[in-house]
């Protein structure tokens, strides 16, 4: 009998479920992909059902459900912080055993449930999937229960956290506060601030330094004069605009140079603190390898600097570094507890979601008015697609199992030729409708990486930035500072995507494609073929590849389908409060 462990993160934002079978990660998916509610925080019921199905087991085969947080400790922090949204009666009337009760009732599960602390789950989501036998661990996020930053060490199957920084002192909340001040949504706009930074001059570094004071060992402190998030309504106090001498930017208004300057100043200070803390962590542990997780670890610019400026030799960042990834960590902790063993190997890919067969897709397409062609020969298919890419077409690429985590990595991707000067604007106009200042990311054939990017190791998860050194002009994927957030594609983990890159290189000499997530703004990445079709007909994507099938826009009149799916379809939504970090 196998050892089956389910990992869960939920009731915060972006809930997820995964399954470990004898220490092998069989499936992982965020609930939003099924429910279609962006950042859906509900108990991941559909994801749970999917995980069981993928592993070929039923509920009674589960040995343990591991939950990514300690609800009692979290409650303690909520009680302490004095949020305006808490009253004695509201607390009294809350069912504080709700998490376990809901897991049991709604999953129909009566076996053991184990709770692991939030940052321990983050740490485990990195260390146990890193393939390292010995590593230092750094986790940094907004807040879990109490901890906001932790320092740990992993050795074999053992993982230990030895120091933590406590709420309200938090690098994540510092970043979110400035994000909010700069007019972006908390919990989702942070990466826009990161994208804005290279445009600015670090003129406000001193001011940002007034917000955070470095401390002994792993500690630091926020100057609460400038923050207001304890009350649970908004992130910053009146003192913050006064400090910068600038009113907060209103959403959707013009981004001025001063906003860029503040963004880069924040980035500089964040990197300073992280580098110093990483050095401290190295000093304490003596490890050569560093593992990172937590929302702040998605700041790929900082990650690169940490590796460069600290004595660590290797870095592993959990690709789902945010809270969804905690499901993986909690499951790994339970696995270690129950089996006494760590995980068997490094996480090589994140193709952990559902896939759809040709018969199913053919049935779907035959119900529609769409004209399509089928190409059972892989080589022929990628040749056809490469040809279209070379002609400057924008492709919706749907192949294999869906990615876990925030990035599209060639399973549910929008692809295009990165060389054209206007490609960035075109894609923004036709589908993404996002801020023009952020470049797209490149996917590059692993074997050709060194010729085009200044990076000496694979970067399969798009978690690092490096300088573009290609002889090609690649404006759509190159940031203003000459950097790019690169994904290297190996033949082993995604053979068809690698073959496509190769076919494109055969035609053009360029083994690089622009790769962005397959979704429209504010919606989750597409999961099934129907969602891909809806995205295709409601945007100006030129061509959709659904596994073996090619559907060209120019051969189809999609105007009626567009009208129906644009105007009449109900779109489920869950909106996070954009003004404050979700504490409760």
């Amino acid at each position: 009998m196998s050892l089956n462990i389910i990992g869960i993160s939920a009731f915060y934002h972006d809930s997820a479920c995964c399954i470990l079978q004898d220490g092998v990660l069989k499936a992982a998916v965020q609930e939003e992909r099924f429910s279609r509610k962006k950042n859906d925080p509900d108990l991941p019921k559909a994801a749970f059902n999917y995980c069981l199905k993928e592993a070929g087991i039923t509920i009674s085969d589960i040995d343990c459900i591991a939950y990514y947080e300690d609800p009692v400790k979290k409650l303690s922090r909520q009680l302490w912080s004095g949020s305006r949204f808490i009253t004695a009666d509201s607390i009294r009337n809350t069912d504080h055993a709700a998490v376990e009760r809901q897991i049991r009732e709604q999953f129909g599960y009566d076996g053991p449930v184990r709770f692991y602390e939030h940052h321990l789950s983050h740490a485990a989501s990195s260390y146990y999937y890193s393939g390292y036998d010995h590593a230092a661990i750094l986790t940094v996020d907004g807040v879990g229960e109490w901890a906001t930053t932790t320092y740990g060490i992993g050795k074999g199957a053992k993982l230990e956290l030895f120091e933590e920084v406590s709420f309200p002192d938090s690098l994540g909340l510092l970043y979110s506060t400035i994000t909010s001040y700069l007019g972006f949504s908390v919990n989702s706009g942070e990466y826009k601030v990161m994208g804005l930074a290279p445009y600015g001059k670090p003129l406000y570094v001193d001011k940002i330094r007034q917000l955070i004071r470095n401390g002994e060992a792993g500690q630091y402190e926020l100057n609460m004069e400038y923050f207001d998030f304890l009350k649970g309504e908004k992130m910053y106090s009146e003192a913050l605009p006064a400090l910068f001498g600038l009113a907060p930017r209103k959403k959707e208004t013009a981004i001025l140079p001063v906003h860029e300057d503040i963004a880069v100043s924040l980035q500089v200070v964040l990197e300073e603190v992280l580098i110093e803390k990483a050095r401290y962590l190295h000093e304490k542990t003596g490890a050569e390898n560093l593992c990172m997780a937590g929302g702040v670890a998605l700041n790929c610019v900082a990650n690169g600097k940490i590796l460069k400026s600290s004595p660590f030799k290797q870095l592993f960042v959990q690709p789902a570094a945010g809270d969804a990834g905690c499901a993986l960590g909690a499951a790994a902790l339970a696995h270690a507890d129950l089996s006494g063993e760590g995980m068997t190997s490094q996480l090589e890919h994140v193709y952990l979601g559902p896939s759809y067969g040709s018969a199913e897709i053919k049935k779907l397409l035959s119900a529609t008015s769409l004209r399509y062609t089928q190409h059972k020969d892989d080589e022929e298919l990628v040749k056809q697609v490469a040809q279209r890419l070379a002609e400057g077409k924008v492709i919706g690429w749907f192949h294999g199992r869906m990615e876990f985590g925030p990035r599209s990595l060639g399973a549910r991707s929008i692809l295009a030729d990165p060389r054209g000067a206007d490609m960035r604007d075109r894609i923004n106009a036709m589908v993404k409708k996002r801020e023009a200042f952020r470049p797209f990311a490149p996917a590059v054939l692993e074997s050709a990486t060194g010729e085009h990017f200044d990076i000496d190791h694979p970067s399969p998860f798009m978690l690092e930035t490096c300088q573009v050194i290609s002889s090609f002009d690649l404006p759509a994927i190159t940031h203003v500072d000459g950097s790019a957030r690169v994904q290297t594609v190996g033949e082993k983990t995604n053979p068809r995507f690698a073959a496509l890159l190769k076919a494109f290189a055969d035609l053009t000499g360029c083994p690089i494609l622009l790769n962005t997530s397959f979704n429209v703004r504010d919606e989750p990445i597409v999961c099934n073929p129907e969602e891909a079709l809806i995205c295709f007909v409601t945007t100006d994507i030129d061509c959709l590849i659904l596994e073996d099938f090619i559907i060209d826009n120019e051969n189809n009149d999609t105007s009626i389908l567009e009208m129906i799916n644009q105007n009449l379809l109900e779109r489920p939504s869950f909106e996070l409060n954009p003004n404050v970090y979700t504490f409760i």
Partner: protein, 695 residues
């Protein structure tokens, strides 16, 4: 700025969190800790947001000055809501004519006939045709889906139109306002919970619900008079419900968690009552139906069967009372019941309207007179509450008489309501969509067939639409991607207002077997034979011959858009003693099932029976724990096309009172309604290659 609470308080917070999590909520220690942490009940005072900024809008209309006068035109920024309102681009400035403003929800819109034929149009024609001169204008401000809160807002806004009279035809959506009122007031909530869950006293629960509802309706009437000022003439037309031909949906028939052996007794009585009525034995039907009601006064089906027995005896008054009571069990909120007027609402209005100087047109009474005491059904209603053309004519005649009387006119009788008619196409579309709408909301084959035949009688053209519809519904692809929907949308511009009805909830498509069969049968009467086409398509899209089919998908068990209102589990929950699934199979091909199931709370071993097309094919041992079974259905029982698989669950002989949770208010419904069995996987296939064999 945030003041950092003292770190010494962290220990207190830890202690309090621990105490609360251990299930305590109000001990001395807890109260003391709350105090030390400074957590009171007053912290949210200044966070409440107050109302929207006054823009002068009336619904989707915004004021504009044209030639020195204020007119109201549709605001483009509110375009998403335009289809909720009548097709009127501009409300002109008030002239010399008497202005009657019509407010209400979809009934007042003339849903399914609108825009071709609406109550406001009929009323306007009647008023002006029967007054001395063209002296009235009816402003149609009715709005689909409007509840009581929205109605108040619209009323307040509409006063800017300087109405000479306000006419309400409303009240069908007020259950939601009642639920809101209860959920936002702890004392109401705990009264309902005590009655329904703690004391398991359904009758007193109903009394409480009705008392609260009456209070809510009374407050509405008072609001109307207070806001409208002392002199504004106001008429409230009380809607009626399709008593005869709209019966409880599958979701409304979920079985209550009756104490002791109540469930077994109720089910036995139900089976007996159904049998008696089938045999036309009214007296025995009455006796058995009364047993059902005595055991569970919250369940609609006992009243419906009792009414059917009295209908057999042509005792219409009695039947009416029971059908009304059946309708009103929607107060217990088993499911997302469709709009309706509750008796308590009607009685409250009849009793209190005069106090607030509000005139009343009691449409139930008007219809009853029109039908000579018989009970209104599909003659006057297209679905649960929306009128047929005849229903609109009769209702508006009564309203017109009242309006004329109130404004001192005498009705001349020159233009009778029956002379104001929609064209044939409007009728045909109304009946087609009535068939679709009734199918979505769990109505039986007979009523669906009636509307399909009517639609074809009014327009032969509708046959094409039906053919495409049948194609679409048998596809496993979502409707919004189907070629046939594209054809329907482009082929008939009259569809556009109701095209939403052609889209199912996400991941909620069903095969609509009864409706498709009704269309096929109706088409046959028009000389179109669609049988083979439908059979072949069903087989291709849903057949178990070549693929393993997941019977837990809505296609294979849902027969309505009902949605249970309590906690939704990740698996299938049976809320009746029998669960029925649909299977598209082939004659003489065996079918293999893989099923994992349990009977929650079952202490010892039990048995479920599995039947195919009514023939028992297996008996399976079940328990309170999940077990997985592999079953084979012999080839000779399977037929071509739709087969039914029935799982027959054990019926509890003895139930102890529901376990009480101290805090979970959201669990009231879960405690009130019973779960017979749960299925977490259920697949079927005829293909041995895709079949999973247990070893």
């Amino acid at each position: 700025m945030s003041v950092r609470p003292s770190s010494a308080l962290r220990e207190k917070a830890d202690a309090l969190a621990l105490l609360l999590s251990s299930g305590q909520s109000s001990t001395i220690a807890i109260n003391a800790l709350f105090e030390e942490l400074g957590i009171t009940n007053e912290q949210i005072a200044d966070t409440a947001l107050h109302g929207s900024v006054a823009t002068g809008h009336i619904g989707i209309y915004k004021p504009e000055e044209v030639d020195g006068e204020i007119v109201y035109s549709r605001d483009v920024s509110r375009k998403a809501r335009w289809t909720y309102f009548a097709d009127i681009p501009v409300i002109p400035a008030k002239g010399t004519r008497k202005r009657v403003v019509l407010l209400g929800e979809s009934v007042a819109r003339g849903f399914l006939l609108d825009p071709g034929f609406t109550p406001a149009q009929v009323l306007g024609t009647l008023l002006n045709g029967n007054a001395d001169k063209d002296e009235f204008e009816v402003i149609d401000l009715a709005e689909t889906n409007l509840g009581m809160a929205g109605l108040k807002e619209r009323y307040r806004e509409a006063l800017a139109l300087e109405p000479d009279m306000v006419l309400f035809l409303a009240g069908n959506n007020w259950r939601d306002d009642l639920v809101n009122m209860i959920l936002t007031d702890k004392t109401y909530l705990s009264r309902v919970k005590d009655a329904l869950v703690v004391n398991q006293d359904i009758s007193s629960a109903r009394t409480i619900l009705e008392e609260l509802f009456s209070k809510l309706v009374g407050s509405f009437l008072e609001y109307v008079r207070t806001v409208g000022g002392p002199e504004l003439p106001v008429i409230f037309a009380i809607p009626e419900f399709n008593l005869l031909d709209c019966r409880s949906t599958p979701g409304e028939r979920f079985i209550s968690r009756l104490p002791d052996n109540g469930i077994a007794g109720w089910i036995a009585a139900r089976d007996q009552a159904e049998l008696a009525l089938k045999e036309q034995d009214a007296q025995r039907g009455i006796a058995e139906a009364n047993r059902m009601i005595a055991l569970d006064p919250s369940h609609p089906y006992g009243y419906e069967l009792l009414a059917d027995a009295h209908l057999l005896l042509q005792e219409y008054d009695k039947a009416r009372v029971y059908l009304e009571t059946a309708r009103d069990t929607a107060l217990f909120c088993r499911t997302n019941s469709k709009p309706r007027m509750f008796n308590i609402t009607r009685q409250t209005i009849l009793r209190e309207a005069a106090t607030h100087k509000i005139g009343v047109v009691d449409i139930p009474e008007v219809f009853s007179r029109h039908l000579n005491g018989r009970i209104p059904g599909k003659d006057l209603f297209l679905d649960y509450c929306h009128f047929t053309a005849e229903g609109i004519q009769v209702a508006m005649q009564a309203v017109a008489d009242k309006v004329l009387a109130l404004s001192g006119n005498k009705a001349s009788g020159k233009v009778p309501a029956a002379s104001i008619r929609p064209d044939q196409e409007v009728h045909a579309m109304a009946h087609l969509f009535a068939a679709i709408h009734n199918a979505h909301w769990g109505q039986q084959y007979g009523i669906l067939y009636h509307h399909c035949v009517k639609a074809l009688q009014y327009s032969k053209e509708i046959a094409r639409t039906m053919i495409y519809y049948c194609d679409m519904m048998n596809r496993s692809a979502s409707n919004n991607l189907c070629k046939t929907l594209e054809i329907l949308v482009t082929g008939n511009t009259r569809l556009d207002r109701y095209v939403h009805a052609l889209l199912h909830p996400r991941s909620g498509k069903t095969m609509e077997i009864d409706l498709v069969n009704a269309m096929v049968a109706a088409l046959q009467t028009a000389g179109v034979n669609l049988n083979k086409y439908v059979d072949d398509l069903r087989n291709k899209e849903h057949g178990v011959a070549g693929q393993a089919v997941n019977l837990l998908e809505t296609f294979y068990h849902a027969t309505s858009y009902d949605e249970y209102q309590g906690t939704k589990a990740a698996f299938y929950q049976a809320r009746d003693a029998q669960s029925v699934f649909f299977l598209v199979a082939a004659k003489d091909e065996p079918v293999f099932f893989d099923i994992s199931l349990r009977v929650p709370g079952l202490q010892e071993e039990g048995k479920i029976r599995v039947l195919l097309n009514g023939v028992q094919v297996s008996e399976v041992a079940v328990s309170g724990k999940w077990t997985r079974h592999s079953l084979t259905v012999p080839a000779d029982i399977c037929t071509n096309g739709i087969n039914t698989v029935t799982i027959s669950w054990p019926v509890p002989e003895q139930l102890v009172a529901a376990e009480q949770r101290t805090t979970a208010d959201e669990a009231i419904l879960d405690a009130a309604f019973y779960v017979f069995g749960e299925i977490v996987t259920f697949t079927a296939t005829s293909n041995t290659a895709t079949h999973f064999e247990l070893n």
